[in-house]
Symmetry: C2
């Protein structure tokens, strides 16, 4: 859906709307609200009082009311719907596209769902139940059944007449789907193609017969990846028997792309993905999304402490000074690899079967990074600390120990960081769980063990 707001006209603020409401200037409000795009309208609703919300909602045109309702957060939707009469609910639902109705139903408590379903026709209810029965995050769960279906024996002129007739109820008319009488998908035809073709031609001659479709049970992330790759406006959803059951449009794919990438960002920062924007998330919600991860990571860090305490007495004090640098660099090296590989997995560019290629690549990159950083560290420790600053504790053996341990840590960290997400994926875990924070904690322990092993080898401690 295309909606429009004139950027040169300044948007009315929620304060202006409030004061117009209290002055009962309803016709002025009606005129104002007509040109506000639904996402902006929904934002205004969030800033006014509950009483004003109900009043303002009733002033909106039927279409604007429905489209704004879709954009609201679920608390506001619940509050409004609770204040509606059954006929008001029915009037909104009749304006909504099916997939939006399903989204709302999925968020509402059972009593509200009952009221919504009561206000739909038998046909709508069947379509809603069709979409609802697909598992969360599947292609079926985000599809709509409101697409244009053409019969194979239609001409171009027939098709255009049919499209004109049904356009209002369809989510898109820019791609039509041609099926046989059993709903098997035979081909697609774009509105552009229809417009430029001879009206007398049969559809079968101008349709594309080689169609990228998705299955109802496909993961919605895979579906979104297809939109990104091919630039589709919409994609047909078929069942196991290749029968057309719905379509997914690009705007819904866009929502999936956004949600999935925000989820990955959250996991990389070791927080539970939030549903609302930061400023609208309460302190309690932020706390709950962060504390489990901090606790887990803190407890796993005690492993490092135990290792440190096990070796500390044996280790010259000067070596302890390099522990933060060693652990930090190890964590960063592993984090670089893990985030890169996790993104590759989630974009479908890296598969588990690539694990050996990934290992071999990271081994080489790791060696290059190790040589560079260990070299830099050796020069810094040996030249700056020992020769220039004359720190007598820093012997050549110390410089060697630190550099060698650093080199090994970097190589191991890169391999752990790259391979663990792939292994997680293989055993059915979300690879993003293996993001920087967990990798860092693991690499910390490994780097300490390597440090002590090298120290005992070189210094004989």
């Amino acid at each position: 859906m295309i909606f429009a707001t004139d950027p040169t006209v300044s948007m009315p603020s929620s304060e202006e709307i409030s004061s117009l409401l209290s002055e009962k200037k309803y016709s002025e409000i009606k005129a104002l609200t007509e040109v506000i795009a639904p996402p902006d309208m929904a934002e205004i609703f969030e800033d006014i009082s509950e009483r004003e919300q109900i009043l303002l909602f009733r002033l909106l045109s039927k279409e604007q009311a429905a489209e704004t309702f879709v954009e609201m957060d679920k608390d506001l939707q619940f509050r409004l719907i609770s204040s509606f009469s059954d006929s008001e609910i029915s009037s909104i639902i009749s304006e909504l596209y099916l997939d939006d109705t399903v989204d709302i139903i999925e968020e509402m408590p059972a009593t509200v769902v009952k009221r919504i379903l009561k206000s739909t026709t038998k046909e709508q209810r069947d379509a809603i139940n069709e979409v609802l029965r697909y598992p969360k995050n599947s292609a079926g769960s985000i599809m709509t059944t409101e697409y244009v279906r053409l019969r194979i024996n239609m001409t171009v002129a027939d098709a255009l007449t049919h499209i004109r007739r049904v356009a209002q109820e369809k989510e898109t008319i820019y791609t039509s789907y041609v099926t046989d009488s059993d709903r098997h998908l035979l081909g697609i035809v774009t509105a552009k193609r229809l417009l430029v073709s001879d009206p007398e031609l049969p559809i079968s001659e101008i349709m594309e017969t080689n169609v990228v479709s998705v299955n109802t049970t496909d993961d919605r992330e895979e579906v979104a990846a297809k939109f990104e790759r091919y630039g589709f406006l919409s994609v047909p959803v078929v069942d196991k028997e290749q029968r057309l059951v719905g379509i997914i449009t690009f705007d819904d794919a866009l929502v999936v792309i956004k949600e999935e990438s925000e989820e990955d960002f959250a996991k990389m920062a070791a927080v539970t993905p939030a549903e609302a924007p930061y400023l609208k998330t309460t302190v309690g919600e932020l706390f709950r999304s962060r504390i489990p991860w901090l606790l887990i990571l803190m407890l796993s860090a005690t492993v490092s402490s135990s290792i440190l305490s096990g070796f500390e007495s044996a280790l010259p004090a000067v070596l302890v000074l390099f522990v933060p640098m060693l652990m930090g660099t190890g964590g960063n090296s592993g984090g670089q690899s893990s985030v890169t590989v996790i993104r590759g997995i989630s974009r479908g560019e890296i598969l588990f079967s690539d694990i050996l290629r990934v290992f071999w690549k990271e081994l080489r990159v790791g060696i290059l990074c190790a040589v560079t950083l260990a070299g830099a560290t050796f020069v810094k420790v040996e030249v700056v600390e020992r020769l220039i600053l004359g720190n007598s504790e820093v012997t050549l053996a110390v410089a060697l120990t630190v550099s060698l341990a650093l080199a090994l840590t970097i190589i191991v960290a890169k391999i752990i960081g790259a391979v663990l997400p792939l292994l997680a994926c293989k055993i059915g875990l979300d690879p993003a769980v293996m993001a920087s924070p967990l990798i860092t904690t693991l690499v910390d322990a490994v780097s300490l063990l390597l440090y002590f092993a090298v120290a005992s080898g070189v210094l004989g401690v």
Copy 2:
């Protein structure tokens, strides 16, 4: 552009294509390649020899050749274009949409650009130069000038006739733009609206007059955010005088969304964003994208080492054991806040003016996390280590010191993590530079200082 591949027909592999080429079965190849979507076709090209690439490219239909060319990486484009005659170049360029031509020109060396421009008409050249003159990452630089423009005095029937006539050369016909004779944008009208309207109606009566448009100099990231928010198919680009100069279509916005979020992921992992997928990036490229950050972070970690060395002799050995846990938890706490805030900034949800709200929110979340984690640590150290394990070095004062230092570190880390990205943004730096790795390094130093301060207060060291 919608293209289609039948998922039930298995895609020909590059090996099959290779062997068909060597057997000179050209008509079979032609039939095969006709149904392959351009992104898939481009992938086949990458897996065959240079000689085969040139041969196969000449076998493609004109349209397929052009669309596949757009999907290739720039090295392959360069190799192919170098083998082309001027007339072959001209035949491909004439099939391309303007924005794709501009993308190619931007990646090619000057000699190739000259050959491409030579093969274009004066009109095309002017349009290309129009787009090329806008700064990188601006709306102007990703727009196309191939849109459908309608005159305000047309009827619906006139408009449909016009659209039918020009459809082939336009990137989209699903939204048309209505302008006056000076190209000032007056409104938009969708193909759907045209199809369902009375053919005799004037355009001016059915067009939407309140149009969301973007300016040529707007950041492309802002433009992409508008597509995400409003679900547009295309958006008009106007100059300072509100004259229509081009449009941006959703597929180009999708590319921007993808690139910008991958860039943020890369920065959060402290790597320079890669241009190609992981498996296609060479070891040298990976090394170069990672080593500068590792070096910078390693050098900044020496700050922590210096702090540690300054206080180490004064500190009881038992306190050193808690350093990794303290630094790790501080880093994770700060990382959680920084990634959350950075995403909020890049999605336009958090502005610099929100800095006090962010500070206040993080302070409260920080205190909650601090109390929980410090409490857990106190119990663990006091009960498990001292009472159960009977570690005599761990006194009540040590448990208190560690817990208090941890609490302070968490609060400070959360605030640093949330506020620094906003400050970076304010002074014109990319907030993502303040992502986890840098925050972690900073928090490491701060947590050590706090630890020693608390230790000297509680233990009197």
